[in-house]
Symmetry: C2
DNA sequence: TTAAACCCTCGACCGTACTCTATGGCAAGG
DNA sequence: CCTTGCCATAGAGTACGGTCGAGGGTTTAA
């Protein structure tokens, strides 16, 4: 089974523009062409494209994805380099994941306040505090709290 | 206690450029100025800045952060809107978090293969498979597998 | 009082990742 | 054969989030 760029676009939720852009960036050297230059995707190509999306969606730069793809194109002799690249990326993703979890806790904390029955009271107290702080430093109060 | 932009830059790991950029974008309407136009940050300002970073680091657009900050500046009457905004953002963050977890599993799967004693064997088998697929569709084999 | 080290604004520039337009070739049905 | 709807490329444009340089005022401490 083979696929046109349009079909791949529908399967991957990448726009046709993006697919062509990725090709131009050297991310799709494995995609064949027919006699008139049309791209022909195979299922194997879709798999690799899925890997590309996986790396992209975890924040890897196109340049680094290209490096990975080039390793893949070069065959089993590059397994060590692939492993190194993915391990380092894995660490970056873990760091991002942890940061998101921390920030989410912060957001949830704020939501707890906003959702509480005392929300107005708490928020007003915060205003009073920062207003006092501004005043104690002879600074204007920028808040329009009512 | 008050802080200069340089001190805030060191405390937040945001560059001075970025702080001024955020101000220009309307994210820091609460920051006071001295008689010659220098920004003067208070501890309360640092708190709000921390919230800004929290939202930014979870992928919120500057435009939406500005909306949130404007709600904060307007006082307790905007609690409902703040809650709505943060709840919707929370959903977006949860979705990102889940996607990252899924992609991380995919990366770990690949790392398992690359780290296995059979790595070369497995990768070679994959090559054989995609090469056969290309051939069965009369397409050239783009891989340089050795 | 002067030099070093700050601070300011404005606007240009940059990197990343697309997104689209213009122009033109190919394919399949009526 | 011709129209409709794909496909292609090159290159311009966009969105976003910074980053920087020029030009000029301020603060601090010797």
């Amino acid at each position: 089974m083979t696929y046109t760029i349009k079909e791949v676009s529908e399967k991957t939720n990448l726009s046709i523009y993006t697919l062509r852009f990725y090709d131009k960036q050297g991310l799709l050297p494995f995609v064949a062409r027919n006699h008139s230059g049309y791209r022909i995707f195979t299922d194997g190509d879709l798999n690799l494209l899925k890997t590309i999306c996986c790396l992209k969606d975890t924040g890897m730069k196109i340049k680094d994805i290209r490096t990975y793809i080039n390793y893949v194109m070069a065959g089993p002799s590059t397994i060590k380099e692939r492993k190194k690249l993915l391990l380092s990326h894995r660490q970056a993703v873990l760091a991002v994941q942890q940061k998101i979890t921390e920030n989410l806790a912060e957001i949830d904390y704020k939501l707890d306040i906003y959702g509480s029955t005392d929300a107005t009271k708490i928020v007003t107290a915060e205003y009073d505090f920062v207003a006092a702080e501004k005043e104690s430093n002879q600074l204007p109060n920028p808040y329009q709290a009512t």
